[in-house]
């Protein structure tokens, strides 16, 4: 049997997390010694029957209490700030990342690259490149966990969540589902393959999918009838979607919302929640009619739509 003591360090975040871990372990050891050494000494020195000075203690109790309250408090605050800083880095993805979509369902991970390649329980990524995953769940809560990268994110049904990492070492790493999700929870595992850039390219080419995610999305956009209202001059007037992604959208209630993935998702599944200013709340919901994977494809398509030349009003 092997005796591994420490997990592989394969992402930029891993270094930061490990540094925190070591410092915390060191601090803990210090406190353990601070408590156990005097305790052990007292236990020997003052055991009943042994000769020792046992005259009543005259000490400034309050001062001692303040000291051992305030010093640990300051230390704790320091560690809090540092850990919160690391957490921010984990939570906020840097721009220009390679985007991959992930759907968790009982009991597998289904992934799709923008270029159309699909994978199940496997993920191929190039080394050194920032990768941003957008995740969704078809059923219960899952959690995407790659120990070697020190990242984890619960995938809560009904919303998109994101996770990012930048692999630093070529290799094969565990992918686990970390949130209990039912009978075969412990089989919802897989591998992340970090490849050198050229091998990654070879891998991409070998996949040779029929269409990219945006192309699949475009097909769905027409088949589901979205284009009937959102394109051209149909009988029903719906907001045009060209160049919408990333823009600020005015809403009926005088507020604005950024048209990000979450907004597009809500607009398709819960269309009455945020109705665009100047339009009637007429859109039907697509909840239950499309899968999370199809949703990802449609959004990928919407993101590729170029800016409309001029938005014609009335």
């Amino acid at each position: 049997m092997k005796l591994p003591l420490f997990p592989e360090q394969a992402s930029t975040i891993a270094e930061q997390v490990d540094r925190l871990y070591f410092v915390l372990t060191g601090t803990s050891l210090f406190f353990v010694l601070l408590i156990f050494v005097p305790m052990t000494i007292f236990l020997f020195k003052y055991r009943r029957g042994k000769k020792a000075d046992r005259s009543a203690v005259r000490m400034a109790t309050t001062r001692i209490e303040i000291v051992w309250t305030v010093i640990p408090l300051f230390l704790a605050m320091g560690i809090f700030a540092w850990a919160a800083h690391v957490y921010f880095d984990i939570q906020v993805p840097p721009p220009d990342a390679l985007e991959i979509n992930v759907v968790g369902k009982q009991w597998m991970w289904k992934l799709q690259h923008q270029t159309g390649q699909r994978e199940i329980n496997e993920l191929h990524v190039p080394v050194g490149r920032t990768v941003k995953l957008t995740l969704a769940s078809e059923d219960v809560i899952h959690s995407f966990f790659v120990p070697a990268f020190r990242v984890k994110q619960d995938v809560v049904p009904g919303r998109f969540v994101t996770l990012w990492f930048q692999p630093t070492e070529v290799g094969e790493y565990h992918l686990f589902c970390a949130e209990y999700c039912g009978t075969e929870h412990s089989r919802m595992i897989g591998k992340v393959h970090v490849l050198p850039a050229d091998e990654y390219q070879t891998w991409l080419n070998r996949g040779n999918p029929e269409e990219t995610m945006a192309q699949s999305g475009g097909r769905l956009f027409r088949n589901l009838g979205c284009s009937g209202c959102h394109v051209g001059q149909g009988p029903v007037r719906a907001p045009p979607l060209e160049g919408l992604y990333g823009k600020l959208v005015p809403l009926q209630n005088q507020q604005f919302v950024r048209a990000d993935e979450a907004y597009l998702r809500d607009s398709i599944l819960l269309p009455l929640l945020q109705v665009r200013a100047g339009y009637e709340p007429l859109m039907p919901t697509f909840q239950g009619r499309i899968t999370e994977e199809e949703l990802f494809q449609i959004i990928a398509y919407l993101k590729t739509l170029p800016n409309a030349p001029v938005e014609v009003r009335r």
Binding site: N253, L270, L272, L273, T285
Partner: protein, 211 residues
């Protein structure tokens, strides 16, 4: 302390200690009740914030007449309960019985009105999981889920309250003198039931009502 409660249980030193213990005990119990309802109120606040339009639409479908009538009934019953407690402190058994019975009658009246209201909700197809009207906005169902859970839980408390008040009324009739402490504590519970409704009424019937 009224003279009436001169007897006390064996674990206590005197009647005063018993009185204080029992009263504090009821207050603590009411604190647990506040937190019990608190979970529901929290859910209401969260979802009302998220889906304010749908909640407004849902609120417009509740029956304002029955709601207001029940508010009046419960407020009156709180008054009669307070009068019963007052009578108990002055040790007037006949007057206690009278006010207690009146409170009981009002509580039953509340349930009767509630019955009519629930029936109307059923006819209006507002029963979630059974015949919910699909033309209402999507999240109005969430509103009605909470409506049923909150008013239902409150109705359960009213029923418990009726049981408590009934027992107290029997006790008063059977004993020669009135257990003032018991009536006082039962009164605390009844006022709490009333108070919960005072919060439910605006949240479910009044807020965002535009019609």
């Amino acid at each position: 302390m009224p003279e009436a409660t001169s007897t006390f249980a064996e674990q206590f030193e005197d009647a005063r200690q018993q009185h204080e213990a029992v009263t504090l005990g009821m207050w603590l119990f009411l604190a647990t009740e506040v937190l019990f309802f608190g979970g529901l109120f929290l859910a209401y606040v969260v979802y009302r914030h998220a889906y304010s339009t749908a909640f407004a639409a849902g609120s417009a479908h509740t029956d304002l007449f029955y709601g207001t009538l029940n508010t009046a009934i419960l407020l009156t019953s709180s008054l009669t309960m307070a009068l019963a407690v007052h009578a108990a402190q002055e040790n007037r058994p006949r007057s206690i019985t009278r006010w207690l019975l009146l409170t009981l009658a009002l509580a039953l009246g509340f349930l009767v009105v509630k019955g009519f209201e629930y029936h109307k909700d059923f006819v209006d197809r507002l029963v979630i999981g059974l015949n919910f009207n699909p033309t209402l906005p999507a999240h109005a169902e969430l509103f009605f889920w909470l409506y049923w859970a909150m008013t239902g839980l409150h109705a359960v408390h009213v029923i418990i309250g009726i049981g408590v008040l009934g027992c107290v009324a029997l006790l008063v009739r059977r004993k020669s003198h009135a257990p003032a402490n018991t009536i006082e504590v039962a009164g605390l519970y009844w006022h709490f039931v009333d108070l919960v409704w005072i919060f439910l009424y605006p949240l479910l019937y009044l807020i965002d009502r535009h019609s």
